[in-house]
Every structure is written in structure tokens, then in C-alpha cells.
Subunit: 415 residues, 2 copies
């Protein structure tokens, strides 16, 4: 993509109003634009990054056999009355139409997915079954001051599974847990799995996937030796205690952001809707359901929040909006520099490499480098009069401080 054609403006100034690093950096680097607290436009760079995260999540959900679909965001009141959510979920946005009809905006989709799936399930032979979607959710948050970490409108992958037994739920839950941990590894994040309370409707324990970050809105206690981890909300231990798993470690406390969760929903939703399946004996049973969330836009915020230096963002290769930032420094020989860099741009693009090509004419080298560091594309290539005299270009990774010369005909190899 030619930078001159891309709708992109970076900014030198930092918004004072934005208290979090991710909110400031993503605005400054031209990834997002805040419409109001917790509600963002995703500019071209931001949309590409969001799509890359979605792609990783989608692949892992497909790999555990879940089918992707897309449910509506506008819900009729009656399904939310059926489950009790209409009166009990305080973040539910409610709408009254001009014909006095009432709707809710989806903040989770048990109310839609349960009747949808169970209308298509006749017998135990149709189970287990898992469906998921990647779609926007809405929450009437009182405060939304954490950039992309807490949105009033946010992108989420939500999966729902249906089982004939607790054992089968447990089997699928561990597959989903492994898939989640794979996703975080792809993103370069280390997530801790914590026990937490089960939310508004569940007496069961739920699991949260937490990434340590000072901008996080949760507090967790974790063992410095083993994998014990618990949300402070439900902890029966405290900072400095010995690890309850007897591993000889002690407990540390940290701020964390919840980048995924799993709820064992039990039979609540099947019972609420009176919908079930027929078991081997011909009797009607309610399925055990699970709900599995991953905050896609929040993950983008967590990555910007935790992967940066004083110059800007350092995107992991897996989600960076582009793989290579090709910078042409036309100097006094614009024609030959652009001719050479155009050629490299075409060559890399033909190889399927995603290149952001800074082909701007009237921008100084300093400004181009500053923009590049701010945006955070993993690999940087610079073409100038000086490098061309050596039949080379300059190559540097975003996280390296020194660049090196690479021969023009070896560019493809180093990437």
C-alpha cells in the first residue's frame, strides 16, 4: 500500500485526555480515532490489525471444530425477558422503537444462540456442537477510560458449545483452553489462567485469561513458581502468602487485563427457553452449555499497551498491519530513488509480502523515520541516494537499534 494513498495521519502531539498508553499510541499512530469514550473508528491501519487478530482467532476456533456464523446485534426484548437479563444486566443497552417496540443491543448472545441452535438439534446424536461469531458487542459502561481495553462498542469472538454431559463439556473446555493459549502465543502474549466468579447468573467458577499490564482493570494474585492464579475478587489468599498449591512459591499481585474467558453455563439457558434434545432413552434433556469469549479489539489495545518503546508501537509479526515498511528518501535524486523503490515494492508485493510503501515526496527523512517507529511495522527498508550508490538498501527490524546494508537482489531472502 502506498502511504501517499492511504488515509493516514500520524500526530506528534499526545492527547492529554487519554489516560492509557494504548489509547494515546493508537490515536497518535493513526490506528484509531475516538468518537467518544469507549467508541472508536478503526482507521485503515487499525482495521488491518484488527482483521489480523480476528484471522488468528478464527483459525483456532475452526481447528477445534466450531462453525462460524454471525448473529444479529439488535435483539427483541422477549428473549432477554425469558432469561431474566432484561431486568438484571445493568450494562444492557435498551432501545424503544417509534412503534413502542423494545429491543436490546447484544452484549453477549446466549439469548440468541440458545433458541437458534436448539431449534436445529433433535437428538443426542446432533451433539456436541459449537458455533461462534466475531461480532461487535455493546455495553452501557459507566466509565470507559482505558482506550481499547474497555469499550462501549467492542469486537469480540464469542463461542457457544452444547453438550450431553459434564464430562463432554470438560473435554471440550480443555480443547478450547489449549486453543486460547495458542492464540495468545501467536500474539506474543503470556496469559495466566485464573479462577473467577461466574458472573451474574452462574454459581459455577469461570476461568479468565489474564495478561499482566498496568492499564488492566483487574487485580490478580499469582504464584511466582507454578501456574496458580486467582482473581483478587474471589481470592482466599493474599499478597506474600505461600502458594496454596504447596509448590514453595509465594504469591505476587498485579494489574491485569482479561483477554478471554470461559463460562460453564450449565443447563440454565436450555431450561429458560424450554428447549432441549432427546437422549438415548427418548427422554427430553437440557444440554450443558459453555460460553467462550475473546476480546478482539481489547487484544489490540493490550498489544499496544504492552509492546512499545519511547518511539512507538512494536507490533508482533502475526498481527502487524504490514510486514515491511519500505521508505524512499528521494533527496535530490527523486527519480532514481523512486524508480528503485517502486521496483522493490512491486517485487515484494508480487511475493505476497504486505508492504507499506512511504512514497511521500515532500516529507523529511526524520519525519518518515519517526512515523515508521510510531506505527511499528516489524521490518524497515530504506532506499536513498546513498544506499543506491552501494547497490543496497538499509534494513532494520523495529526492535533493533542498528541498521545494516543489504544488497538489492537479496531483499527477498532476508525477510
Amino acid at each position: 500500500m502506498r502511504q501517499s494513498k492511504l488515509f493516514l495521519k500520524t500526530s506528534k502531539t499526545v492527547s492529554e485526555e487519554e489516560p492509557t498508553v494504548n489509547g494515546r499510541l493508537l490515536e497518535q499512530a493513526g490506528f484509531v480515532s475516538k468518537l467518544m469514550a469507549g467508541v472508536y473508528t478503526y482507521l485503515p491501519l487499525g482495521l488491518r490489525t484488527l482483521n489480523n487478530i480476528s484471522k488468528i482467532v478464527r483459525e483456532e476456533m475452526n481447528a477445534i471444530g466450531a462453525s462460524e456464523l454471525l448473529m444479529p446485534m439488535l435483539h427483541p426484548k422477549d428473549v432477554w425477558q425469558t432469561t431474566g437479563g432484561w431486568d438484571n444486566i445493568d450494562v444492557l443497552f435498551k432501545i424503544q422503537s417509534r412503534t413502542e417496540k423494545e429491543y436490546a443491543l447484544g452484549q453477549s448472545e446466549e439469548e440468541v444462540v440458545t433458541p437458534l441452535v436448539l431449534a436445529r438439534v433433535q437428538s443426542y446424536k446432533d451433539l456436541p456442537l459449537a458455533v461462534y461469531q466475531i461480532n461487535w458487542k455493546f455495553r452501557d459502561e459507566l466509565r470507559a477510560k482505558s482506550g481499547l481495553l474497555r469499550g462501549r462498542e467492542f469486537l469480540m469472538k464469542d463461542m457457544y458449545s452444547f453438550h450431553t454431559s459434564q464430562e463432554d463439556f470438560d473435554r471440550f473446555y480443555s480443547e478450547a483452553k489449549e486453543a486460547y493459549l495458542k492464540i495468545y502465543t501467536w500474539l506474543g502474549l503470556v496469559a495466566k489462567v485464573t479462577e473467577a466468579s461466574g458472573g451474574a447468573f452462574s454459581q459455577k467458577i469461570s476461568y479468565e485469561f489474564m495478561v499482566l499490564t498496568d492499564a488492566g482493570e483487574d487485580d490478580i494474585l499469582y504464584c511466582e513458581v507454578c501456574d496458580f492464579c486467582v482473581n483478587v475478587e474471589i481470592a482466599e489468599v493474599k499478597l506474600g502468602d505461600k502458594c496454596p498449591k504447596d509448590c514453595a512459591g509465594t504469591l505476587a499481585q498485579a494489574k491485569a487485563s482479561e483477554v478471554g474467558n470461559v463460562f460453564d453455563l450449565g443447563q440454565k439457558y436450555g431450561k429458560d427457553f424450554g428447549l432441549g434434545y432427546t437422549d438415548e432413552a427418548g427422554e427430553k434433556k437440557f444440554p450443558i452449555m459453555g460460553c467462550y469469549g475473546i476480546g478482539i479489539s481489547r487484544l489490540m489495545g493490550v498489544l499496544a499497551e504492552t509492546m512499545n518503546d519511547e518511539k512507538g508501537i512494536l507490533w508482533p509479526e502475526s498481527v502487524a498491519p504490514f510486514r515491511v515498511h519500505l521508505i524512499a528518501l528521494p533527496g535530490k535524486e527523486a527519480e532514481s530513488v523512486f524508480s528503485a523503490s517502486d521496483k522493490i515494492y512491486r517485487q515484494l508485493t508480487d511475493l505476497g509480502v504486505e508492504v507499506l510503501y512511504d512514497d511521500r515526496l515532500d516529507v523529511s527523512a526524520g519525519e518518515k523515520f519517526a512515523d515508521s517507529d510510531l506505527i511499528g511495522v516489524p521490518h524497515r527498508l530504506v532506499v536513498s541516494q546513498k544506499t543506491l550508490a552501494l547497490e543496497s538498501l538499509e534494513y532494520k527490524k523495529r526492535n533493533e537499534s542498528e541498521s545494516r546494508l543489504v544488497k538489492l537482489d537479496q531483499v527477498a531472502e532476508i525477510l
Copy 2:
């Protein structure tokens, strides 16, 4: 994709409540599930089709130099007050939060895109510029009884362009018009370009792209010889009149569905927000803006509505959820039949062909064929005991009545 793993149930029965062909067929074939009037879940087949349509639209918008971004659906009240839309647009959904804050749900995005873009435009050098998104819109429709043709929640591509002169707008408008006509051609549709009224705020004429279909909600008059076409709403001619373009044709009248539109917004939105650019003389000017819509989910409805026979849908290759429907008829030799069809499935998938593989064990041949015709995948391959005895499989296009035998090793070639 193995059909046994896909969340898909077709239905033999037709919903009597659904008055349109597209609503009935898409539900029956398992593409969508109606949550309420005008609001649908897109099941796996439907989501794939919708994504394929989006992909075609996206490519053509990129080709005319527009940048893709994604704007929020939840809008603050003040931007809608600024333009007068809050009080004047009757289909605008309004939301009151628990803190008494008011929001609107996006039904078009001039209110968001104008301040977003103009905050990043300083001078005439930054123009022209076009951005677009593919995102869900919401309209508080009084009636929504046309399946996917009129949604309360619907997927739309909306593009906005910004220009320094009417001439430059006209130039871009004709590029956009050509792009639109290309898109319809890709989809196998013939769209007529009509003049229509400019909507709530514009005194200017707008253009609508119309596909003839009895389920359409517009009435158009068109010349049987030349390309004259006008919406009956604003027509100064009537059925049977001579064509006003003096081409010797006479005017016919038909129902049509609007699958795209273009509005010349003039300077209204820049003026409303007090945002503009600096021209060559250093003076502040308001840009000429254009708005260009294409209904993605509506196009899916129009395709199902117009491309079908008594057995089901006939998707064009460009948007079909799969290219090939591979059907295994295990009969009494399940093992050898599945072994051969598994091999073909892998072979085609490795070649990048998208295959829906009916690997179901306990389903009759008749039911498999009926499902296949209903779903409407363009190419059908059948593997059975009988075809294997001839080292062949049976090949048929969805729109052909006779199948023919093809040697196993020639499958890839015929596709």
C-alpha cells in the same frame, strides 16, 4: 468443509409467514435464520456468501483508490443534532443510556465521517479523498417483510468522497458508477441506473442502481431501447409514453430493488460541522461530498430472489458459498465410496477449490440431491458404488438437467 461438521439444517417445509421468495429460500436452504422481521442470523453458508459479496465490493472500491476503515455503529447524539438528523430522520434508532446520555444507531455515517475526515484534511492538497466501510446499519422500519431486501439490521458498503470542485466530484462519480456496474456484472445482475430524489436533505438528484424483481419495493419506468430509467416517485413520464430521449423506444414499468445509490451531498456536511480545507488562495472552503451505498445483505437477497428454480437457489460462481458440492453415496460399500470421495475432497481442497463435502452416512441419495439443489452450489460431483465401478464420478452443473461421467483423474480439469 465436511457437511457432517457444518452447522447446517435444511428444511423441507416452507414458512407460510414469509411472503418473499428470498426469505423462504434462504431460510429453507439454511443460509439465514430470522430472529425477528428484518433481523437475521447468517448461518455458516449465509456468512460465506455474504463475505464473498463483500470481497467483490471491497476489491472494486480499492481499485478506485478508496481507503477502507470501520466506523462505530453507536453514535453520540450531538453529531446528529448538528446535521438536523436527530429530529428529522424517522428511521433513526435512539438509545438512552442508564446515565441519561443519548445515542443514535448508525443508519448512514455522514455524521461520523465528516468530522473524522475533515479533522485530517488541512489543505486542497489533501483532496480528493475517499473512504469506505462495510458495516452493519440499523433502521427503525415500520415494516420489514421482504426477507433480506429490507432490513432493520443490514450490511452495507458506504463510501464517502471529498472534493474541491463539482467537476472533480463528477469525475469521481463516474469512476464509482463504473465500479458499481462492474460489481453487478460480477454478481451476474443487470442493474439499471435511475434518477431519483435526493433524500431528506438534498435538493440534488441522486442516482439509484436498480435490479428488476417482483419482490422489489420500488417502481421504475425504463425505456425498452435505450438506458433511460427513472424512479416513478419523481417521474414526469408514464407507462407507454415515448422515451424522452427520442430513441424511438417506449417506456415499460416494473418493480425493482435498489442495490446501490449515489448522493451528491454538496457542501451541507462541511458547513454543518464548520469544517473545511484551505484552498490555493489560503481561504477556507467547504468540500463537495458524495455518498455511495451498496446493500451487501440486500444483494444476497436479490440474488436468491432472482436466481432460483423450483428446486432451490442457483448461486453465481462469484458468490456461491462453495464452488463444488461433492456428494458421497455410500450405499452398501460405504468404505470404498468414502475412501474414494475423501481422496477427491483432499485433492480439490489442496488445489484451493472450496468444496462442500456431503459425507453424511445415514442420509438417502434423494435427500442429498434435494439438499444440494436447494443450497445451489454451482458444480455437483457424485461418487457412488456405480460410478466407482467405471472409475468415474458423476458431474453436473446446478443449472443443467443431465449429468455426465468424468474419469476420476480428470476431475480437476473440468472445474
